[in-house]
Symmetry: D2
Subunit: 378 residues, 4 copies
């Protein structure tokens, strides 16, 4: 129940136990093609978008976006927390202008505020974070994009804790770059940064940019196109085994059905929240419409969250620390993504009740688990 | 018998079959510490060097070196082939001055030539490639460094096809940055760029640099230090499972003994070369003292190397294409690194003889395999 | 949550992923020795007992007991259910006299009744079942043995659903043959019948017997002794990979501590029973002192147990059918052995509540899971 | 290169890494059906034969044949070595009459001799061994059966080292019981005895027999029929994971094509023999028409075979000891079955040459490997 790497199906892990697969093997070429096509479905895009898998993870995918930007261009960062904030130091390593709109912890920047700022003019790009991993807040991407689509060239959405667990319609919503990482709701190990670029984004890729070498998507574009055509491609060695595992994961996602998968995440998230509130605790995300399917921040009153994390691990549950600086020492996070089930929700709430009570927090043992169960049954 | 990813021991792969290991789990923290300490041995450095494991691979390790360089500084690239050449476009993405010394294919840049160029003055850094993966040529690193050590600030060695299979004494030789990737002679899957930085290099890390965000080693330094002290560290999610596998690989290397491992590679390489010459073919590397323990380029006369590669894979042997543009279509490569054994050498030569003969190349079937066997027996 | 094969730790399963281990490999010899020694601890015996691992499982271990019996000898079978009953047809395939004492379903044969029957004289051997897998009833082995020890030559206890989860003191109690299978509370895959024979039993092995060939323990004895001395042994090929897995399992049991393991099973069993009763259902085992740590039979009132089993499997929980003919169609079984945790208990009860309610059974959703949680917390 | 358990494909081993598969899971039911159907192809029989998978291995399959025999019936054992001989003590544990015809080591009992003996009358059954694992001799089953088919009720063939690597046409040849084990040429781990019974054999199963309980095929028959109909079946717990692995193995056999598989074994065997003779040694099997595709016995002149076995294992090759008492200390065996390839043949010969030479045997280093290579090329 970590925010990532998440619990992974054995079937996915075992797909990586291949001791003789080089980057020019037919097996790898096939897996790459399968993976690139599978990502389109998860991102809600069609063939007009090009999907990419590059080395690294969420941060490499984010930084690769600078290969779409030219010297001096202005970017608006819409940040709901730590991972939204990350865009700022990242972009500032390059000769770009960067402005940031920040939400209070547990809240999101209202779409109107984004619209207002963009209306001032001069912005080439806007970045936002679909689900803010540090707080579990889901941003209203669709509405925000609708308000600004005509006024900026590039709309970039970080879907790291969203893709595979939340509804994503990057094309319908008008998103130019939707990105994620392999180790979150896609349920594979970490090691890959994943993106889809719209035609408009691909067009911008043709020109000069401020980017470095490895994360310059121009270097990766022909590689991806080759793999989709069943041919070899090479720029820098991809994590072959992770690709095999992610391809298997996408196969299992297809088998489950993306809608079923999203519904499962929604159900588990609902049970987790019911359990947390049932035992008498509060959730970091303030507004119900912004509750995410993947991360729930839990505010504690008396105990040290670090002690909670150590104690639950002895009961077989790994949770994640709170990382929002404004809530330092006051919360921890439950990740519920990937292959998570209602059984995990029940067990997590049960462990939390017992551990928190033992550590002196004022929780009602038995009530959280009952509430989670009723949420699952209804 | 690929140049990488190489054949991997099952024990290494199975170390990654862990479905519940997050980046804050004690198991991961322990593996990171073990890995960072193990790398010191492989690189021939002591605690005055800091080892790093970052996302990516050889290229990310190379590009992270720019976090040691300031605007306008001048770098000399000593290139013996494709991967030496790669430094040029990489460094030129940054505001640096770059000069390149190039060897003929199959040869290396003489140490004296490097000394001459450096003597002209103005260079902050020199890069060289320990084993050039595109041709299998080993560069005389020790001698080259000796001639230039006093004249430049930073000496950077790309040990991608060397570390774990060739003698490496980065500290004794006076190398500031020795780097490699997980998927070559270390015998783990790809996904990690690995480096060791000398005190001088660490000192340079303190100042401003031209680097981007993800590959800025300043962001990774505290993470590595934490892990070595058994504490959590986080900047960007590392490929947890690959770390577990590399830690296992380094454990097996320790068990085998680094010297035994190097001797094994040397023996296998010798058998491969004897086999290639025994069947009547020529090797890309021109000078015997520059034969590497890890890669052998084989020049063919009549057949299309691409057809050889397709045919050998049906016989259970995966080889690598030749990639040096000046030898286009005239050679292929045998990788012999990682967990490679004399049995692999014999089987590879046997398959090559049969496949080449079938494709019409003028080889003596039975003679190569006999020569390889005699090389192993002597 | 099956009665076996049970859920198995990945670490155990991966110990079997060895593609080159023959029955004469040092690795196998070592694993055999380790396993045979580890079994002594689990059975509560010392070096005066010889442990055995033979092909098959519980039934082969049971049938191998005939290699201790001579033509015409008389055996008393003490049966508390289906697996106790199995001794009858089994023994009757041989020229032996067989009498059976049977308990009502959910109950056990009182030790006094066994004493009374044995007192009639003429019995060479008595068999009993430590935990009757068909009903979850634990037999009072210690007391029963105490009453008959002086009157029979051989006391045989089937510990198939007991060893590794219940307190077993075969030597202190005076048991001559204690047997089990690999796939139950020892937490490994099926494929091995396991026994410990006392000195008295080993003495009987010397003579002629009624047994067949493969299950004649005289053929296996020198093999086991060889392996314990680190030497090769061969009579009939053992399931090499299963041995590697069981050896790993016994290593993990040692690491956990046998007492901790038994306490864990006891805790989980208590939570399961609290959950079953909390939701309003009855348990097959009638007397609390005979509740086992490993199997709980659950009586349903309205629904078809077969439908329950199909439905829970869709929720990720596999349960076992009821097999006692006298309770046909009226119950199912929850297995809770091996690597089972409190989290499994909570999740199982939660799934059962929801599934049973959906199928129309009159259960109180939320109350079972709350009761199980309170049982775990107290 | 052992005679079994043999080297196993990772794909087969990984099919067994399932931690939640009980004997009533749909996955297991499906695998059983698949396996039982797959065995028919390997045995060369149609639906008029019933295939069985029982616990144990070759010996349990052999002993289960007594469930077709009645008290006092007479059996002729045709033995070409140790495993042929095994029928005698096995059958003599039961009230049967047993006669044995024995071949010299390295030879087989001539079909005419079998015919002569059977013609004397009184025999209910004849057993023979398709490939005698102790010497590598293949028996002329087809011809032998032709000569006796009309004179006995039951013809039983032990195909332990044959099925999956030699041509088997049990139905066309008129064999009533063809049996094997999972760990030989079928390329799965040990743990299962496998049989096919003709209609005539199934008819005999209806009556009383001399068999014990576990190996009484009457107990297993309804179980097998259930599984083939996609229903649950239970008599005694089967090694669930081994079944999953064997089902995968049979799937791979089907993919390879049975004829291709037999041809591959034939080719590897030919290369092995050419290599052995090329280095100057002799083969145990005396007559070329009786060379098997799966086992080659190698006679040494000076060295101790036990030392050869220890030495080759350090070179990554596991061979098997010689076990024929009449050739004690004079030979060792090379197993070449399962997933064995020409590369294994070449590597084995190369290792043998070097090891034998080092131990002082008079072999021609380089000549064996050359001869093996030429045998593969031709």
């Amino acid at each position: 129940m970590h925010v990532g790497p998440v619990t992974i199906e054995d079937e996915v892990l075992l797909a990586g136990v291949r001791n003789n697969v080089g980057f020019s093997s037919p097996e790898f070429v096939e897996a790459m093609g399968k993976m690139l096509r599978g990502l389109r479905k998860v991102f809600g895009v069609d063939d007009s978008y090009q999907t990419f898998a590059i080395v690294g993870g969420g941060t490499s995918a984010m930084e690769s976006v600078v290969s779409l930007l030219r010297k001096g261009e202005k970017v608006l960062v819409v940040s709901n927390g730590v991972f939204g904030d990350r865009w700022e130091p990242l972009l500032k390593r390059y000769p770009l202008q960067v402005n940031v709109l920040r939400a209070d912890p547990g809240d999101y920047v209202p779409p109107e505020a984004v619209e207002d700022e963009v209306s001032k003019g001069g912005y080439t790009a806007v970045t936002m974070t679909h689900v803010e991993t540090s707080t579990g807040v889901r941003h209203p991407v669709e509405e925000t994009v609708k308000r600004i689509r005509d006024r900026v060239d590039l709309i970039v959405v970080d879907g790291v804790s969203a893709a595979g667990a939340e509804t994503v319609k990057a094309k319908d919503w008008g998103v130019d770059v939707y990105l994620t990482a392999s180790q979150k709701a896609l349920g594979a190990p970490p090691g890959l940064g994943l993106l889809a670029l719209s035609e408009r984004a691909l067009e911008r890729l043709k020109g000069e940019s401020v980017s470095g070498y490895l994360l310059d998507l121009r270097n990766w574009l022909p590689v991806m196109r080759n793999f989709e055509e069943g041919k070899l491609g090479y720029f820098s060695t991809l994590p072959v085994h992770t690709v095999l595992m992610l391809a298997k994961s996408l196969e299992l996602i297809e088998k489950e059905g993306l809608e079923n998968r999203i519904a499962r995440h929604e159900k588990v998230a609902r049970a987790i929240r019911a359990g947390v509130e049932g035992m008498g605790l509060k959730i970091v995300a303030r507004r119900p419409e912004a509750y995410s399917n993947t991360v729930t921040g839990v505010i504690v009153n008396g105990v040290d969250p670090a002690k909670v994390l150590s104690a639950v691990i002895n009961e077989g549950i790994e949770l994640a620390p709170g990382v929002h600086p404004k809530l330092q020492g006051r919360y921890f996070r439950i990740g519920h993504m990937g292959w998570v089930t209602p059984n995990d929700a029940i067990a997590t709430i049960a462990v939390l009740e017992r551990v928190l009570k033992s550590l002196g927090e004022d929780v009602r043992v038995g009530e959280g688990v009952k509430a989670a169960q009723l949420a699952l049954y209804s």
